[in-house]
């Protein structure tokens, strides 16, 4: 074991891991985060806490993680390179670890253009791959990015993101390889709708043996309505929603579309379970956290292993 992470334990044991996420509030009320956390207790192995997701200001991921940790949940600290330079990031990692946060996800972050602070400076001192390397070096070498030694280095279980659907498709496997070589332990993928394409990517991953180095958690997002399906298809960058899925959602009456979305998510998990290299699932039910237990249950992923 490289770390004390529960998630790491489950993954290295070869069991399918389940993670979900919880967006911190746009305010300072800790109750919001506690409520969301409560919904996921016993249902998932770790809870991602997003970092100014979609470039909107929210409670800091670090603070929210601490709240979850205090509730006895396993938090997963998301960190984007957009908002802090390497000094601030390392400081936050030290802080997080000091509070018992042992998982983190290294991301570049959505562009500020889409958020509520489009005028903000785009820091990008380092990119996500370099962040992975930095966290790995902190853990393995016990050094800061500047080369100085760390007293009591933080031991983070390091995650990254992978989008098998963005262009250019052909370098997507290589992109994962880069993250792997930078030291990533696991990746959570972009939500999957186009299963054949995902499988194609996964095959590439396996062909290069990357699945041996990196645990791949397949991203699942249930769709609430045909409107959402269309929106994801047309508006969200890097999302690949096949037409027949939109058709299927549109084929049922409005009231039952949410249920249909859940059905689809469950079916997908069932199918993906069988795919070589899939080490677990990351269920992103954006502002729909209450449906996560149902999905996890119906997908036959309960109970979660006790650690």
């Amino acid at each position: 074991m490289k770390t004390d992470s529960v998630l790491e334990k489950i993954l290295t044991s070869g069991q399918l891991a389940v993670t979900s996420e919880c967006g911190p509030p746009r305010g300072s009320d800790p109750e919001v985060i506690r409520k969301k956390g409560e919904l996921l207790r016993g249902v998932v192995d770790a809870v991602n806490v997003t970092d100014n997701q979609t470039a909107m200001v929210r409670m800091s991921s670090l603070a929210a993680c601490i709240h979850l940790r205090q509730m006895g949940l396993e938090p997963l600290l998301q960190m984007v390179t957009r908002d802090r330079n390497r000094l601030a990031m390392q400081a936050d990692i030290l802080g997080a670890y000091s509070h018992g946060v042992t998982n983190m996800l290294c991301l570049s972050g959505d562009h500020p253009k889409f958020g509520d602070h489009p005028m903000a400076a785009n820091v990008h001192d380092i990119d996500s791959v370099q962040l992975i390397k930095m966290v790995r070096d902190m853990r393995e070498e016990g050094t800061f990015a500047g080369g100085e030694e760390i007293k009591e280095p933080p031991k983070m279980f390091i995650g990254g993101a992978a989008n098998p659907f963005a262009d250019p498709f052909e370098l997507r496997v290589a992109r994962l390889a880069k993250k792997a070589s930078a030291g990533v332990d696991f990746v959570q993928t972009q939500c999957i709708y186009n299963i054949p394409k995902f499988k194609k990517w996964m095959k590439g991953v396996c062909d290069r043996g990357l699945h041996e180095q990196v645990h791949v958690l397949a991203g699942i997002t249930p769709m609430k309505s045909v409107g959402m399906a269309r929106y994801m298809k047309n508006k969200v960058p890097g999302m690949d929603v096949p037409d027949d899925l939109v058709k299927r959602m549109g084929g049922v009456e409005k009231k039952k579309q949410a249920a249909e979305g859940i059905d689809i998510a469950v079916e997908m998990i069932q199918e993906l379970k069988e795919v070589e290299g899939v080490a677990g699932f990351h269920i992103m039910a954006i502002e729909w956290e209450r449906k996560v237990p149902e999905i996890v249950e119906r997908a036959g992923l309960l109970p979660r292993p006790s650690t």
């Binding site: 972050g109 562009h111 253009k113 889409f114 380092i126 370099q130 262009d167 370098l171 890097g238």
Partner: protein, 222 residues
Amino acid sequence: MITAERKPLEEILQSVSSFDRILIVGCNECVTVCAAGGRKEVGLLASALNMSMLKAGRPVQLTEHTLERQCDPEYVDELAQLVTGADAILSMACGCGVQELARRYRDKPVLPALNTKFMGAAERPGVWAERCAGCGNCVLGVTGGICPIARCSKRLMNGPCGGSGNGKCEISDEVDCAWQLIWDRLKALGKTDLYEQNMDAKDWRPAGGGGPRRIVREDLTE
């Protein structure tokens, strides 16, 4: 080339509102080429200012002059005579020119009429696009001649983010995904192995992280 574009007239008017004699100075280098501050733009601005002032009932005296280059002291010296007769200088050069004027003519307010934008190239007539961020440590050799620092919206050094689609960046269909370009080019060159190597976190000191930069060529200094 440094590219720039004219500030909104309103803002320029505001900035010169307290002066009666204004010298408008253009530059015959980059800003001429990007149609922001050459002789012609100087003429257009003078005309526009004159009309606006007339309209406001506060006519001013405007003098137009375009220097070969506004960022070299010898050229800037040429202005001495004209500056004497002016209450303020309105520079239509990039920020370098504005500062050179301000440095040389200490007692005269020097006001910028342009917003200096970026170092870019002409994509096609009338369209300029950012190409170089002046980071001081060029990586173009390993990125197929396309700069990820200047041309990737997230300055990603190790490949595209998940928002890249149809060769375009997630921020706009007008912006090419730099990494798509890099990838295509590396493929064409048969050098995709360059992509596989991880690029280390960048040392930003040469990019200005180490404070204002200068270049000294001892052999040319006097």
